[in-house]
Every structure is written in structure tokens, then in C-alpha cells.
């Protein structure tokens, strides 16, 4: 079996760059707590759509960039993103069959897992949280999922990324 030619790598790269920027762009303090995890959302979409191209290794590199960008412990974002990508890779066939609201639920679980891992990593660096408020982004991300999904799918179809 011949692998299909890789097309539109720049679209994937560009979407990740945009997601990284949205993750790091300054927002007012109360909104910081509910910031949707753009990078994870974009990663989940690409892994579900093109699991043969975007996988844990891709996620690791993006996570490293995010680490450098946020000045966090080097590798903690990378590890969390890679884990989400690995889970998603094993789930992607079921994920494609789900209706969008069910996908959003799964996205909530995945982002929640990502937040938990991140929080654990931050605790290593000394910053502890005293409430479960750090899980709020998973709810917000699930809420944003349908729009992200429709947007990225139309982009992928229009530009024939495969």
C-alpha cells in the first residue's frame, strides 16, 4: 500500500502557530482562568482528522514551543500534549463516529486530563492551586469545540489537506 502524498503541511503548521499565539495573547485577569486551550483543541482536531500525520511526536514539538513561550518547566506542556495526542490517536475512529455534542464531552475529558497534568507539573515548580478552578478551561474548551471543529474541517476540505 502506497502512502498518500502529504499535502498542505503549511496549513497544519499555520493553525498550530495561530493556536500558540491565541494561548499566549494577554487577557484580563478574570478571563485568564477560563481561557480555552486552543492548542489542545487544534491538536485534537488534527489527530482525529489525520492521525497518520499528526501524532504524539508532533504534539511533543508543539508542546516544547509552548513551554518556551510560557516559561514553564521545560517539557511539561510537551508531555501533556503528547499524552493527549496518544489517547486521541487510539480513539480517533470512534471519535469520528460521534455526533458533535458527544465529541465535545470527550474533548472536555481530554482537556481536563491535560489541565491536571499541567497542574501537577506546576506544583513541581512551586505554584500550587487551592481550588479546582484550574479545570475551568476544559468546560470552556468543550463549549468552543463545535466551532473549532466546523472551522478547521471547512479549511481542511477547501485546501484539500490530506
Amino acid at each position: 500500500m502506497v502512502a498518500p502524498p502529504a499535502r498542505g503541511s503549511w496549513v497544519i503548521l499555520l493553525s498550530f502557530m495561530l493556536a500558540l499565539m491565541l494561548t499566549e495573547i494577554p487577557m484580563p485577569e478574570p478571563m485568564e482562568w477560563g481561557r480555552p486551550q486552543w492548542t489542545v483543541l487544534v491538536l485534537i482536531y488534527w489527530v482525529a482528522a489525520l492521525p497518520h500525520r499528526v501524532g504524539p511526536w508532533y504534539a511533543w514539538i508543539v508542546g516544547l514551543l509552548l513551554d518556551i513561550l510560557q516559561g514553564s518547566l521545560l517539557g511539561i506542556h510537551a508531555l501533556s500534549l503528547a499524552l493527549v495526542a496518544a489517547l486521541m490517536k487510539s480513539l480517533h475512529q470512534r471519535f469520528r463516529m460521534y455526533p458533535v455534542w458527544q465529541q465535545a464531552l470527550l474533548v472536555m475529558v481530554l482537556v481536563g486530563l491535560y489541565q491536571l497534568l499541567l497542574n501537577w507539573g506546576q506544583a513541581l515548580g512551586g505554584a500550587k492551586s487551592d481550588s479546582l478552578l484550574f479545570l475551568l478551561p476544559s468546560l470552556v474548551s468543550a463549549f468552543f469545540w463545535p466551532w473549532i471543529f466546523v472551522l478547521l474541517r471547512s479549511i481542511r476540505r477547501a485546501l484539500k489537506v490530506s
Partner: protein, 288 residues
């Protein structure tokens, strides 16, 4: 991850890694810069004239203060000569601009647009026009990262400007709250006191305002008083910051930082044999 946590020279090399994301940083700053530019070009003439007048009067006030400062500085230098103590030098400063704020609600960090190319070094103090903001924790070629005094990982040695009482001011990571560490119940400190940097630890220069005490709670059940303070610097609104070059500190090579200071041998015997002279408190007044 382990490398970053345990290998201290890593702090030095991390700076170079930021080179990979510098273009992203620059792009992210574009909306802010465009808004500021638009704001400037759209403000009307009356407003500009008002601003100009206000700035002129401010300048006059400052100039008057500066005249007195000049004479006081020379007088101070003379007195110090008389006392045979070393003269305090005026520090060189560098103006930097804010280009990024930490998006993580757990960390209070900023990114500024000066780096190794402008001789910024690790541990360099950062001020704004009102007081101490924090210190540089990561230096890249074109950008560097500043840890604010409100971050949980930050502590700064301060002293009370009124009574000379010294302590460590610790960040809490929530809003603008700071906490003074281990203050005895009998210490002379009260709400409204100004805390200035004490230059112990030789990282921050002496005498810059750091915070004002907001409340002092004496709880009989606790060993220490709870003292809360609020930073003097406008941590969340300043866009222009000052990097101070302290004269004795030059960029430190990473290897020297890793050396653990050994406990001095002279301290051990003095604690076992009672020494009447060691009880004299005169030594603590040296740097005030």
C-alpha cells in the same frame, strides 16, 4: 524536565531557546502596538495640550525636587567621606518595553524587549517609576523574562523605611498581595509603613521602594505577626520598565552559580562558647 529542574546552568541556556519563539512574540505584540499607535494618532488637539500642560507642571515639580537632591547627594557624599565609608554610585539604567504577559494564572511573569544584546543579565533588578517590579529570570538574545515580586517563587529582602526593621517580602501569587516573612510580634512595624529594598543578598540595589504595609495582625496564638503589604510599583499597568545595572554585579557565568556556599567554620564555635561581645546589637545597624 529533570534537566530544567535540577541542572542550574540550564537557566542560562534556556535563554537561547527563546530565539525559536521570538517571531511569534513579535507577532503577538502587533495588535497592542497598533492600538497604541491608533490611540496616539486619534487623540484630539485639546487633549494633547492638556497632557502637555500637565507634563510641564510635573516636570517643574520634579526639577525642584532634583535641585534639592543634587545638594543632598553632594552633602551625603561629603558626610560619607568624613565617615570613611564607600561612596554609593549612581546606577546605570536601561529602558525596556513590555511585550508579553504570562498567560498562566499561576505565574506572574512578564516578557520585555531587551536581551543579551543589550547586556541584560540573569538576576538583574527591574523597576518602574514607582518602585521595584521584580528580577530577570531568563535572558534570550532579544527578549528576557521578568519574575514579578508577587510571584510565589519570588522573595526580596526589604527593610522598614521608618524603623529600619529588616525582613523578607514574599510573593503570594494572588493579585497584589505580598507577605512579610517571620515578623516577631514585638517588631516595630505598622500599617502604612514603606518597605524599601535593603540590598542584603546583593541582588537589588539599596533604597528603592518595594511595597507599603497594608495590615499588621497580631494573633496571640501565633508565633509571628501576619504582615501583609501591597507593591509600590504598578505591576499590571506599566508598559515601560527600567533595568538597573548594579555596579558590583556583572553577567555571571553559569558555572559559578552552581557552587553551593559552604557554611563558614568561624560560625560554629561561637555558638557553643558564650561570647559576651556577640550579643551586642551594634552590628545590625551597619547598612541602614
Amino acid at each position: 524536565m529533570a534537566t530544567d529542574l535540577l541542572w542550574s546552568p540550564m537557566a542560562y541556556y534556556r535563554g537561547y531557546l527563546t530565539l525559536a519563539v521570538t517571531p511569534l512574540r513579535w507577532l503577538m505584540d502587533v495588535p497592542t502596538r497598533m492600538l497604541t499607535g491608533l490611540d496616539q494618532s486619534l487623540s484630539d488637539r485639546d487633549q494633547l495640550q492638556l497632557d502637555n500642560e500637565k507634563l510641564r507642571s510635573d516636570l517643574l515639580l520634579m526639577a525642584r525636587k532634583l535641585q534639592r537632591l543634587d545638594s543632598l547627594t553632594t552633602e551625603n557624599a561629603h558626610l560619607r567621606e568624613l565617615l570613611n565609608s564607600s561612596e554609593r554610585l549612581d546606577q546605570r539604567v536601561l529602558l525596556a518595553e513590555l511585550i508579553g504577559v504570562s498567560a498562566d494564572p499561576f505565574s506572574n511573569q512578564l516578557v520585555i524587549n531587551k536581551g543579551l544584546n543589550d547586556q541584560v543579565y540573569l538576576g538583574q533588578p527591574v523597576l518602574d517609576e514607582n518602585g521595584v517590579m521584580g528580577q530577570v529570570v531568563e535572558v534570550g538574545p532579544y527578549t528576557s523574562r521578568v519574575l514579578l515580586i508577587t510571584d510565589v517563587q519570588h522573595a526580596i529582602p526589604v527593610q522598614d523605611n521608618r524603623s529600619g526593621f529588616r525582613s523578607l517580602l514574599i510573593g503570594r501569587g494572588k493579585g497584589r498581595e505580598l507577605l512579610l516573612n517571620h515578623v516577631p510580634d514585638t517588631a516595630d512595624i505598622q500599617a502604612g509603613d514603606l518597605l524599601i529594598s535593603s540590598s542584603l543578598g546583593s541582588r537589588f540595589p539599596f533604597g528603592y521602594p518595594v511595597a507599603t504595609v497594608t495590615e499588621v495582625i497580631h494573633d496571640p496564638g501565633q508565633a509571628f505577626a501576619t504582615v501583609r503589604a501591597e507593591p509600590a510599583a504598578r505591576l499590571d499597568t506599566s508598559r515601560h520598565l527600567l533595568l538597573v545595572f548594579t555596579p558590583q554585579q556583572q553577567p555571571v557565568p553559569p558555572v559559578e552559580e552552581a557552587v553551593v556556599p559552604k557554611p563558614t567554620a568561624s560560625q560554629a564555635p561561637s555558638s557553643t562558647t558564650p561570647d559576651p561581645e556577640a550579643e551586642v546589637p551594634a552590628v545590625s545597624e551597619e547598612d541602614s
